[in-house]
């Protein structure tokens, strides 16, 4: 679905953020991108939807090269790529329903969106997604009236409203408590499986990533230093990615987490939320 070839980004300041990154993500796969702060995780996913302009290399989405597209073609490429943000990035003065429907702006004309006259199919899809993330009764609440976890669910619904082929997720759990973090990760992974989306998740929490994803890519100083299954993250590999540290504690936590989690998979989603 997504093929990145020798992608390089050098900022105007001279910092080399990405160094010939080559990566291919098939549809339906959830890939976790890990690495220390400043390794280029954020730059990588922002290059994919061209919020950051790559210096060289290529990005091919579903057979179409989107590395240099401009104008209408760029907007269409972005329409096919949903993005979920660390700090939710809701438009807080708009209602939940408006935030979700904003995911259709790439497909609805200006005046239609101005008068909030969205096609019936879009409205149906929006309420279905809100029901899926358990927030349908919040449709008229303003964005700033929600808790962090609820905001992130709205963010997820907005991204999926685009009917994307690819989902880019930037630190989705960094501002959330551990329980909500797991609920959000599970929700993202389930939705990707349901809709057969290729997904790249930037994440700091290695244990959490190991629990949910199919594949892990480790970045260090802008270069790929690990690409493999989550089980392959040995202390040696983690040291290559992050530098020297006692990794056994992290790994134990991940294993315990996986055990504890197996029992209560489904109900957490609609259940007790702060």
């Amino acid at each position: 679905m997504l093929t990145i070839n020798a992608l390089t980004k050098r900022y105007d300041t001279g910092d080399l953020a990405l160094d010939h990154v080559t990566l291919s993500v098939p549809a339906g796969q959830v890939l976790a991108l890990i690495g220390p702060s400043g390794a280029g995780k954020s730059t990588l996913i922002r290059c994919v939807n061209r919020l950051v302009e790559p210096t060289s290399g290529s990005i091919v989405l579903d057979g179409a090269d989107i590395t240099r597209v401009r104008g209408k073609a760029l907007r269409e490429a972005r329409r096919q790529i949903g993005m979920i943000f660390q700090s939710y990035a809701l438009v807080e003065r708009l209602s939940v329903m408006e935030n979700v429907l904003s995911g259709r702006l790439g497909s609805v004309g200006f005046w239609r969106s101005w008068f909030r006259r969205f096609p019936e199919a879009d409205v149906r899809q929006a309420i279905t997604l809100l029901e899926r993330v358990g927030l349908e009764t919040m449709l008229d609440k303003r964005g700033d009236a929600l808790s962090g976890g609820q905001k992130q669910r709205v963010g997820i619904a907005r991204a999926l409203m685009q009917n994307p082929k690819l989902l880019l997720v930037d630190e989705p759990t960094a501002s959330l408590d551990p329980k909500t973090s797991r609920q959000i990760m599970r929700l993202i992974c389930e939705l990707c499986a349901e809709q057969h989306l290729a997904t790249i998740i930037n994440i700091h929490d290695v244990a959490l990533a190991q629990q949910f994803v199919h594949r892990v890519v480790g970045l260090r100083a802008g270069a790929v230093v690990y690409d493999g299954p989550p089980e392959g993250l040995t202390p040696e590999i983690l040291t290559t990615i992050y530098g020297e540290e006692d990794w056994n504690a992290t790994r134990r936590e991940a294993e315990e987490g996986a055990d504890a989690d197996a029992g209560k998979v489904e109900n957490a989603l609609l259940g007790g939320h702060p």
Binding site: M97, R116, E120, R124, A126, I127, D140
Partner: protein, 288 residues
Amino acid sequence: MSNAASRRPADLQADAARLAARVAAARSGQWRPLPRISSKALRWSLNAAVLVYLVLVYYSVDINWARVAQGLDRALNFIGSFFTPDFVSRGGEIVVGLRESLTMSVVATVLGIALAIPVGLGGARNIAPRPVYFLCRGIIALSRTFQELIIAILFVAMFGFGPLAGVFTLAFATIGFMAKLLAEDIEDAQREPMEAIRATGASWWQWIVWSVQPQVMPRLIGLSLYRLDINFRESAVIGIVGAGGIGATLNTSINRYDYDTSAAVLLLIIGIVLLSEYFSGYVRRWTA
């Protein structure tokens, strides 16, 4: 915003039913945003009131197109004099007036800002105790209520003709303007750094200097330069009521029907305002 605590059970039930109906409608593809004014009667009577007002306005404004056509000619004559400005015959007076105006604006701006900073700090709801807040907002309101011209008439009566009255007028107006905008900028400052600096055990003044000042400084500098610019333009207006500066020169030339000199003065004012516009853009980029 519905206030759940104060509502009766029947109302809550009605709310729940309304919500369920909206979700059901959305399921079938029907959704409109909630109206900003929830009462239908109020909403439509406001719409009707606006319509009635517009109709009344249309019939009450009496436009004499013949007079407009005549006046257009006179306006063109006035604009025509801009092409024959006379900088020379009253050159000495113009230079003296300009120098006086610039001095007045600079002194009034510095004085006004020095007084506006404490008033602005006191007028920020998030850092000032309630009584201080109301006092400072009162000062701001007082200063903003009166137009410069009216204050100038008062000060000319108090201090006599000349630039001293002008300086006090402009300084007084500057207090209201700067203090209001500074207070609002402080109220919009990020809370977290302010909390963090307070948590270090800093004193009140340290707290202001370390957490508030860095956040508001760029805007304060930008506004100060903008106010300097306003004060210069205002000095041309208040000169007409005897508060000194280039306004006095301008007024004299108009009274003598010496429109070429008036045009020269106006052109100089435009030039200086343009210069200050460039200068403030440069300074703001440099201090950001």
